[in-house]
């Protein structure tokens, strides 16, 4: 699924990132970064309600393709700048986590556990 499609489905605002044609293979969602580090795969989109710098660090470590902040929680300018610097696109949706995840899932974006390891 293209990032542009995710943006439309979630009626999201783009906080940084110009290339919305990147292909997102699957997604994961959590507010606990160690969960993300243990279960998310590269090229996944990360949905989270946490908005601090550790989200960007976590995304950087496991090569997350895009970060989607949920329930309208806006990260600080510093956090967005950090993502920009790392080349990670960032979206913001007003939808809560459950609904955002549900919409993406019913539109065909799989979870990371449903994808075979290479």
């Amino acid at each position: 699924m293209k990032l542009s499609e995710i943006k439309d489905l979630l009626q999201a605002e783009i906080l940084c990132g110009k290339n919305l044609s990147v292909d997102i293979k699957f997604a994961c969602g959590s507010d606990l970064m160690s969960d993300v580090l243990a279960s998310c795969k590269e090229k996944a989109a990360l949905l989270t309600g946490l908005t601090n710098a550790q989200v960007i660090r976590t995304a950087e470590m496991i090569d997350i393709s895009a970060i989607i902040f949920v329930r309208g929680k806006r990260p600080s300018k510093e956090v967005v700048e950090m993502a920009l610097e790392k080349g990670i696109p960032v979206l913001l949706t007003k939808l809560p986590m459950y609904e955002a995840a549900g919409i993406l899932y019913t539109n065909g974006l799989k979870g990371t556990s449903e994808v075979d390891d290479d």
Binding site: L37, L50, Q54, E60, M61, D63
Partner: protein
């Protein structure tokens, strides 16, 4: 450890400093990528380093994170001055965490760090002394 290392870097990690947390691992990841290691190896090393760095920030007073790349292997050593771990077997269990609510609000304290560090590395050793500190050594072969 092989003395013919290709790359060695050390970082001082400050306990409780969440602003700086992750900066060392970010630099480690950048360097490992730069020397051309494959992306799976880089990723496993980066996750191991980051979880170790966060454990120092969250649970210890201060520490040093050292990464040594030798032909065929990467070693990540996290040594800290801190409270130590009373029961290592328990600490290694997925979901076990003594992290405070404050730490959980910052996105840590799932109790997944140590088990994931073990999963990401080919060799995992942990030594700890109560009231003194903890030493975690992880080796990844490439």
């Amino acid at each position: 450890m092989n003395k013919n290392f290709l790359l060695k870097m050390s970082f001082d990690i400050e306990g409780n400093n969440f602003n700086a947390a992750g900066a060392a691992s970010s630099e480690i990841k950048r360097k490992l990528k730069q020397i051309g290691l494959n992306s799976d190896v880089v990723r496993r090393a980066a996750v191991s380093a980051y979880e170790a760095e966060m454990n120092i920030v969250i649970h210890a007073y201060k520490g040093v994170l050292t990464v040594t790349v030798s032909p065929g292997e990467i070693n990540i050593l996290a040594e800290d001055e801190g409270p130590g771990i009373a029961d290592i077997e328990l600490a290694m269990k997925e979901g076990y965490s003594t992290a405070s609510d404050d730490v959980r609000e910052m996105g840590f304290g799932a109790g997944m760090g140590l088990p994931n560090m073990k999963k990401c590395s080919d060799k995992f050793e942990i030594k700890t002394e109560l009231g003194v500190g903890t030493k975690v050594s992880m080796t990844i072969y490439y």
